[in-house]
Amino acid sequence: MQIEIDEISKLFGATAALHPVSLSLPSGALVALLGPSGSGKTTLLRILGGLEFPDTGRVLFDGQDATGLSVQDRRAGFVFQNYALFRHMTVFENIAYGLRARPRATRPTEAEIARRVAKLLELIQLPQIALRYPTQLSGGQRQRVALARALAIEPRMLLLDEPFGALDAKVRKELRQGLRDIHDTTGLTTVFVTHDQDEAMELADLVVVMSGDKSGGRIEQIGRPQDIRARPASDFVRTFISA
């Protein structure tokens, strides 16, 4: 799905989180929102997911205005920074949650739910863990379960907030490839937030470099990783990507 962000701004009380920003993301792209803390990248992601609403501007999905669309109706698969797995449910119940939450008319049967969960566990290469609880999983496994749970609702896009932030270096490298594979398999427009420029440059098709100051976060440059490296648009980008 093609995503269009049109002059979006956001204030939290008296603090500006986003200076009006505009951005167009092609359908099926793997996009990184890259920037230091305070650059508004998470706010932008949450606005896309319907968890925050912008003060001004519009969000368009495939040309349709989605600014006022509720979080439930957006069908955005969202992976939270600490994964936010339901701690009192097994992995199976976590992944099935979105299917069970559907209105009766569109809710799959139990057998169908079981089949889909099994398929998703296969996709994240953890077929054996269905009956475990989140506390019994490693950090990397939790991240993949969160991904499977988000994919279970057959989302229109995939949004990930610092998906590798809580992992150690080795697991991080493995899971980068995992995300790339899942993106290529599903073909979903995928947006992830990161402050790690290596991660953004290595993984994404398109990198959005953001910076922040008192007037809020703003976009410094949008481009393919090699173009940003070759031609940084500002001193900020030059310093940030060489850090």
């Binding site: 997911g49 319907g50 968890l51 979080v71 439930q72 957006r74 069908r75 955005a76 698969g77 969202f78 939270f80 920074q81 600490n82 936010a84 797995l85 339901f86 701690r87 009192h88 949650y97 979105g98 939450a101 559907r102 609880y133 989140p134 506390t135 749970r149 988000a150 279970a152 609702i153």
Partner: protein, 284 residues
């Protein structure tokens, strides 16, 4: 290497440990165990038959029934209120949040007797609300509604105060995750929020219940102490004791203490039964 040379840095010397344990045991024995044993001993001073007979007296039965009714009404209402208040305070930002938190704590700081007087002044026959209610056949003061109001006032912080810290610690990302998965607000509440706070809620309800059954001060003021009609168990105990009916007073006190002990035993049993779940909740 011996224990004394390399004991863990946070462990005290054996002497300190023994002294600390003895001091706490002595305190507990003096303040909790001894009075409790005395209550049961006094109740059984003239044999179990006398104690049971005093409890089968119609007025004693009325007192027990009244106390159970008061707890059965005020505890669920306070549980609902406590969950609603905790949800409001932890999941939303709004003006006047600090004021609401302070208001919730008022019953902890205001004397129950003062609370009882406030209810009399507001709903008594001399106020216009009270006279209107009496005229319409619904007296509050010196009747069951007043006793329930007084018990609710005294016990309403318990549930909210137990839940709020848990909800703050857990944050709201699990709720947000459920919303992004398409769940409605009520579904999120029943499938995510409530299971996550169920232990704190249970403790809150047990504490609230214990206090509701045992409340004396506020109820003494609003009830009018009408025997067989508005005398709850704690009120009856006082009246019986003042009338030198020692066995009856202590038998009733023993029943009240037993109710509390049963509550405590129930809590311990649940903790033991679900120890793994509790641990899982804390670790995550």
């Amino acid at each position: 290497m011996s224990d004394t040379t390399f004991r863990p840095v946070t462990t005290e010397t054996p002497l300190t440990r023994v002294v600390l344990i003895l001091v706490s045991m002595a305190f507990l024995g003096l303040l909790v165990a001894a009075p409790l044993i005395t209550v049961f001993a006094e109740a059984l001073a003239e044999g179990a038959g006398a104690a049971l007979e005093s409890l089968s007296h119609p007025e004693a039965q009325d007192a027990i029934r009244l106390t159970l009714i008061v707890a059965a009404v005020s505890v669920p209402l306070n549980a609902v209120f406590g969950v609603a208040a905790a949800w409001l305070i932890t999941k939303f930002q709004f003006r006047g949040k600090a004021v609401l938190l302070t208001l919730i704590d008022i019953p902890f700081s205001v004397s129950p007797v003062v609370a009882g007087l406030c209810i009399i002044l507001t709903f008594g026959a001399n106020s216009w609300v009270g006279s209107w209610l009496v005229a319409h056949g619904f007296p509050v003061v010196f009747a069951l509604p007043g006793i329930i109001l007084a018990s609710m006032f005294v016990t309403f912080p318990f549930v909210a105060r137990e839940i709020i810290p848990v909800m703050i610690e857990q944050g709201k990302t699990e709720e947000e995750a459920a919303l992004t998965l398409g769940a409605s607000g009520w579904r999120v509440f029943f499938t995510v929020t409530l299971p996550n706070i169920r232990w704190a809620l249970l403790y809150g309800v047990l504490l609230c219940n214990a206090r509701a059954m045992g409340e004396f001060g506020a109820v003494a003021v609003v009830s009018g102490k009408i025997r067989g009609l508005t005398a709850t168990m704690p009120i009856s105990i006082e009246m019986l004791y003042n009338e030198y009916q020692s066995v009856a007073a202590f038998a009733m006190a023993a029943v009240l203490a037993l109710l509390a002990l049963v509550t405590l035993a129930l809590k311990t049993l649940l903790e033991w039964r679900y120890a793994d779940q509790l641990a899982a909740n804390r670790r995550h």
